[in-house]
């Protein structure tokens, strides 16, 4: 039984891809298709890592990330952002939100831009949670 990794993405193709990569590398995959569902699973399953899409309908990855990192019981869970938008764009949005909300949210452990090669993703997961 490997470490639990939750993949939150609204695109079933991406979920399938990430799940396969996780299984191939000995992790236990969990999935959610939006931020709301993701938070629920995190509270129930306490995964070691969350692989999170930024742009999703209903509850975006940005909102879910901030919820995760401002919850004392959850903020130690590592996060890899996996997104179609550029890292720079995401970080700028985080800065803006930090300033606006006057709350300090740390940068994610890693940020990967889609498309990502399976080896690259596997290496990054290993680097973050071992």
């Amino acid at each position: 039984m490997g470490k639990k990794v939750l993949c939150v993405d609204d695109d079933p193709d991406i979920r399938l891809f990430v799940v396969t990569v996780l299984e191939e590398n000995g992790y236990t995959p969990l999935t959610a298709s939006n931020g709301e569902e993701g938070i629920k699973i995190i509270r129930e399953e306490k995964p070691d890592l969350v692989i999170l899409d930024v742009l999703m309908p209903r509850q975006s990855g940005i909102k879910m990330y901030r919820e995760l990192k401002t919850d004392d019981s959850l903020k130690n869970i590592s996060v890899i952002m996996l997104s179609g938008i550029a890292r720079r764009t995401f970080l700028r949005s985080q800065e803006a939100l930090t300033e606006f909300g006057n709350e300090n949210v740390p940068e994610p452990e890693a940020y990967l831009e889609k498309p990502v090669e399976p080896e690259e993703l596997a290496e990054m997961i290993k680097k973050v949670i071992g």
Partner: protein, 518 residues
């Protein structure tokens, strides 16, 4: 006028005393008197002096009065000739009348009788002069009027000829009598082929012929047939777009003919088309960035699928193989949809009219999205007008447009942040007056902001964050417009959106009607 007041009188008598007495008497009355002592001399004086009245004795040596009368009348038939005869000489008097004498005075000449005869002669001259004046005037007036009419008619002919618009006029039997060069350019027939050879039924579209005939039957005279866009069939079989207006002409309540005006819309239509094309090209340019994003997502899906298939093949894992293959298939589908959308949008396309059942097409669309809807707990409600029968429309346009709208409605529900809603997508059809079917797709999903709504049809625009091409509504609108329909949207943020499409249809099995459609 002076002449009438003071006529010149020529006295002819062989007796000098009579001449002298009469001259004195007449001069004192104000007449201008010349005299001669013989018929021959009288004629010479007549030629020289042109008197208005001649008083001549009938019995004279040499040339007698009758002879003088004949010669004078030959020279100027309007001269009044008064004959002096012997008492009771009826035969001579009759002869003199025969040659045109005006009056007779018996000898001996009494002043009173002379005065009466002169008065009568003077009146005659007077009347004749007036008559001549009237006649001359009348001829003159007729000449002026004729010239004016000619000038006006010339002007009108030139006006009609030089008009850019086609002008066609008929007589009361609908036979064409006026057909200007503007009409030649539109219809393609020459003037010689049309004027007095064709009736409107040979030239106008049937609906225009019908409109004229019913107009004439109902004796409507108020505004005529208002401007409308029509298509005329030219001599070469080309469909020419034109604007038409016409009116039946009446005279004393009876139809005396008709006139029709045609404006050639070919150039305008061409420019419109050019404008639309250039706008479309600009829009295509704008969207490349957005499209690239969408294509990247497809690529990600394909690459992921390939990786999953590779892994599954390595491990002989059939379930995984199936999943990977599904992912690849799904993304191939997205590519083919995208290419189709792009092709539809970048190309001009004429609707392909076929007999079809609109409700059935809409039902197909609902079934296509049923699985996705159920997955997201969205209820699809079908509300079809069962009086809609089999009609002539383009089934592909309906299917494509409705599928786009229903898919959008489902997306609007899945992206809705109010998760405690019971999402519904209502798909409605309804028959409307004037051969029109209304299609309505109503959702209670996320709705749109005013800004989003303003951008809906503007250019490639997507709120689906790289998961939409931004082409769907553009394609839909294009299909609707090509089908001569209309599309409208109302939306309220957080409450939902309603898209409505109105599409015209033709009744069945009369494919000719399409060509004649006005």
């Amino acid at each position: 006028m002076q002449k009438i007041l003071l006529p010149k009188i020529l006295l002819i008598d062989d007796e000098e005393d009579i001449i002298r007495v009469l001259s004195m008497s007449l001069r004192s009355d104000g007449y201008d008197i010349v005299s001669a002592l013989s018929g021959k001399e009288g004629l010479d004086v007549f030629k020289k002096e042109s008197p208005d009245i001649i008083i001549t004795d009938i019995k004279m040596p040499g040339m007698d009065g009758i002879e003088v009368l004949k010669k004078v009348k030959e020279i100027n038939p309007e001269t009044e000739v008064i004959i002096i005869t012997g008492h009771g000489d009826i035969d001579t008097a009759i002869e003199a009348l025969h040659y045109g004498a005006s009056d007779f005075i018996n000898k001996p000449v009494r002043d009173e009788a002379l005065s009466i005869a002169l008065h009568r002669a003077k009146d005659k001259i007077d009347i004749r002069l007036k008559l001549k004046e009237y006649t001359d005037d009348l001829e003159n007036m007729v000449k002026i009027a004729t010239e004016e009419v000619k000038r006006k008619s010339n002007f009108q002919t030139k006006l009609i000829k030089s008009s850019n618009d086609g002008i066609v006029a008929t007589d009361d039997d609908w036979k064409i009598v006026v057909y200007n060069p503007g009409a030649e350019r539109i219809f393609g027939y020459s003037r010689l082929e049309v004027v007095r050879k064709m009736r409107i039924v040979d030239l106008y579209p049937p609906k225009i012929v019908g409109a004229f005939k019913s107009e004439a039957e109902n004796k409507r005279n108020d505004e005529g047939l208002p401007w409308r866009e029509i298509t005329v069939l030219s001599k070469d079989g080309e469909n020419i777009p034109a604007r038409f207006s016409g009116t039946v002409l009446y005279e004393d309540g009876m139809a005396m003919g008709s006139v029709a005006f045609f404006q050639d819309l070919r150039e305008i239509k061409r420019l419109e088309k050019e404008l639309i094309n250039s706008e479309r090209l600009a829009a295509v340019g704008q969207t490349v960035a957005g499209l690239a994003h969408y294509i990247k997502n497809i690529l990600i899906g394909l690459k992921g699928g390939r990786y999953i298939v590779d892994v599954a093949l390595d491990k002989n894992d059939t379930d995984k193989l199936k999943n990977g293959w599904q992912a690849i298939k799904r993304n191939i589908g997205r590519i083919s949809d995208l290419v189709l959308d792009l092709l539809t949008y970048s190309k001009e396309r004429e609707p392909e009219y076929e007999n079809c059942l609109p409700n059935e097409i809409v039902n197909d669309v609902c079934e296509l999205v049923e699985a996705t809807a159920r997955e997201h707990r969205i209820e699809i409600i079908k509300d079809f007008d069962l009086s809609i029968h089999e009609v002539l429309m383009d089934p592909r346009s309906i299917h494509r447009s409705l599928l786009n709208l229903v898919s959008n409605a489902i997306d609007a529900c899945t992206s809705d942040e109010y998760t405690d809603k019971r999402w519904q997508v209502r798909v409605k059809t309804a028959l409307e007056k004037g051969n029109i079917i209304r299609f309505e797709v109503k959702d209670n999903g996320s709705g749109m902001s005013d800004e989003v709504r303003a951008n809906l049809f503007e250019s490639f625009f997507s709120t689906k964050q790289g998961k939409g091409t931004g082409l769907g509504l553009l394609v839909t609108r294009k299909l609707i417009e090509e089908h001569k329909g209309e599309i409208n949207v109302t939306s309220q943020q957080g409450k939902g959106t309603t898209f409505t499409i109105w599409l015209p249809y033709e009744e069945l099995s009369n494919t000719d009607k399409i060509a004649e459609r006005i």
